[in-house]
Symmetry: C2
Subunit: 456 residues, 2 copies
């Protein structure tokens, strides 16, 4: 059956709603020009004008198409009527590749067409060759992917994302999509968003007796997920090694440069793991591997971040402004101090039980601490939080408030074929922020959302 | 700077909060036993008991750990006290690998430990060797990943997911995470969810003048995304080839076996594409590639679906119950007919403009139709919807209602460096449902959400 369907898919055809024959024009990406083409090749490229210089006989136009950070220089004779072109405009150019005296490849255009104009007079906010502060660029989220540095950020983010999937697959992990809409609230924190249909009419139509109008759609309150961990643990009890990597939400009133209302989190759960050292070594291997892969593959994009001088590690944080309070854990200031003191990323393990969530496992022979870890990183503080999970049914039950039946399903995981499990959550934007020394987390994600801000 | 941080990350160390030395015990996964180990090897395995047979001298226990669909047979002498083990229990077993008379590999256990018991008496819902209907299993979402068939589904889903990322990266696409929280409503449909903080106090604290209480958090209404397309187009105008692959939401009151409130969608946008044939050929190549990769890599898991006899294609749908109405497009029944008539998946192109969204491009010399496509698949109907995008500023402006300023940013994409763009959205669960002939879409996703259902 399956084979038959697959074969059908492989031979899918086009309904003859059209008489046009298939005719696909292939142009070259700028990345492929630098990688695969040679001087003398005739190519067509398409992209956006980054800058332009007029010389005696020729106009030199730098073009980028987003396929890499490099720009291709297009040489157009002055007599071509399309040399009156502006930065930001989209063009198509055809011609022969040539090597300049300095050894760089350029395109001697015989044909150049303007596809879409771009004018500062009509409101385009980025003037050529000008460097804008990131706060300014952030006002134009829809145009931000056109700026050199943010395009590099998007490619690096994509590469990190891909290497995470790759690393986990090579290590036998299954990507399980945990739900965004959830009726259970993992951390017990109050800072959650609730979700209801926009249509009041729909709610009225769907309402059942004994259910409030706002709960009519799901017959209960539905929240946006603050963590996929508990659901992921359910999957780990069948598949052993699982992860989820997607958006997570916090309804915080925060203007902090380390917080977003919507952010990406990698969450990993491993069954049959009962050592915090094993967890630490896994996290280290993960970050080490994806970092070196991305350093290797994105070196040109990363170069766009090397001029960043911001480094909070250089600030003097030797004396705390805030006092350490065991009930509250480490402040951002304490985290930064530890990172500076240790000369780099640092794991803090065996935390006081009272400040950590109910599902964390007690340390061996130490009922006041739990086998938990935080990985603190330069520039941001906490990047990863993880722990061994309490897998003893009675102990876990004792830590859930009497009468709370919402977590009965979670207890079931320990009632039937319970196994020692460990896991962690990694804040993806925090990792990027730490690696690239980015001042504000809002510049690590394509479309940032935070208190009072949800544009587009 | 970057290099320095990376080097620090590579040498991250453990704070000496602990005196325990690092000691990691490695057990073997069952997948690795079948792939890498040989008779005579001493191994330790951990997993869950699938079934048990008592013979004269030995007990035979089939164990699976989710690393593959295969079960490993453990042979335990009758005198071992731990042979009183039940289906669903978790165990650890050590011993020597051996080849049976029939050529299969098995483990001659010298040591077996029960890690977690499992008892039908205490409420475990799955009896050994019994096959349950999927509606029954779906009542126990938290235990469902332990069932053989659903574990296979999760591994196939994961493989498809991974191959999609792989294919798109090989083709130069950048994964751009479009937002879940959005202030614009792509399709103009009324079936959206709205999002507000759960805490009324927070809303009061954050409220600014001239903003309603329920809009206090973002200063405006925030919805759950019904599509990342418009945001993706913004990214395509800098990076050319982009995609997003994540959860999408519809607040529909539907009990249909083809609809979910939260589902996964792959959305792809390609700049410099102005031919519907190019789009069709790309979609075909994508589905063909991921299908053959998954057929190849997951053959054993796919075998779990071969006994499925359901195939709506076999039903007689030659005569329509519903009449075709150009204003409403194709009904599910019409879609199924076309698929049957064409003997497999089929693209329907050049749709009436009046039933398609505002951003689709008119056909050449045909103002009443748009260059749009639907891919219809066996068992489900629509799997993919796509189109060329209108990239003419004036034409696009003419199709947005006067006074709607919410989409000014989208118009900007055509005002500054506009390029011909094409894209599509692929319903991931629909694809899985079609490929594996799964009757109900709720059995294609780990934690399904639909009208009146949001458990866990």
């Amino acid at each position: 059956m399956m084979m038959m369907l697959m074969n059908k898919l492989l031979s899918s055809k086009i309904c003859k709603y059209t008489d046009r024959s298939v005719f696909i024009v292939e142009h070259s990406t700028i990345a492929s020009i630098f990688q695969k083409h040679f001087p003398g090749d005739i190519v067509e490229i398409k992209g956006w004008v980054k800058s332009k210089r007029k010389m005696k006989e020729n106009v030199f136009i730098d073009v980028n198409d987003g396929s890499c950070s490099k720009k291709l220089q297009i040489v157009v004779p002055q007599q071509n009527k399309n040399t009156d072109i502006t930065t930001g405009a989209s063009i198509a150019a055809t011609g022969k590749l040539n090597t300049t005296a300095s050894g760089q490849i350029e395109l001697q255009a015989t044909k150049i067409d303007i596809l879409g104009e771009c004018s500062l007079n009509k409101g385009y906010p980025f003037a050529p060759r000008k460097i804008y502060p990131s706060e300014y660029i952030r006002q134009y989220l829809h145009l931000r992917p056109r700026t050199n540095k943010f395009a590099s950020l998007l490619r690096i983010r994509d590469a990190l994302n891909f290497e995470i999937h790759n690393f986990l697959h090579l290590n036998g992990f299954v990507n399980v999509h945990t739900p965004i809409l959830t009726s259970s609230d993992c951390e017990g924190a109050g800072e959650v968003f609730v979700v209801t249909p926009n249509s009041k009419q729909l709610l009225k139509d769907m309402r059942k007796s004994h259910v409030s109008l706002e709960e009519a759609y799901f017959n209960k309150k539905a929240y946006l997920s603050v963590s996929g961990q508990l659901h992921l643990e359910a999957a780990a009890h069948g598949l052993c090694r699982v992860y989820t990597f997607g958006p997570t939400f916090r309804a915080e009133n925060s203007k902090s440069k380390h917080h977003l209302s919507e952010f990406y989190m990698l969450e990993v759960e491993m069954a049959f793991t009962d050592s915090i050292e094993e967890l630490i070594s896994f996290i280290e291997r993960l970050i080490r591997t994806i970092s070196s892969e991305v350093l290797n593959k994105c070196s040109e994009d990363i170069a766009n971040f090397q001029s960043t001088t911001l480094d909070v590690l250089e600030k003097n944080v030797d004396r705390f402004k805030s006092e350490y309070c065991a009930k509250e854990g480490l402040s951002k200031e304490h985290e930064m101090f530890l990172v500076k003191h240790c000369g780099g990323p640092v794991f803090v393990i065996n935390w006081p039980k009272q400040i950590k969530p109910f599902y964390m496992k007690e340390c061996v022979n130490d009922a006041i601490r739990v086998s938990a870890l935080d990985l603190l990183g330069p520039n941001v503080g906490e990047i990863v939080g993880g722990s061994l999970r309490e897998n003893d049914y009675q102990k876990l039950k004792g830590r859930i408030p009497e009468g709370n039946t919402e977590l009965d399903w979670y207890l079931d995981l320990r009632k039937f074929g319970s196994v020692p499990t460990a896991g962690f959550g990694l804040g993806f934007e925090r990792l990027i922020q730490s690696m690239l020394s980015i001042n504000n987390i809002r510049d690590t994600i394509p479309f940032p959302r935070w208190a009072h801000n949800c544009s587009m």
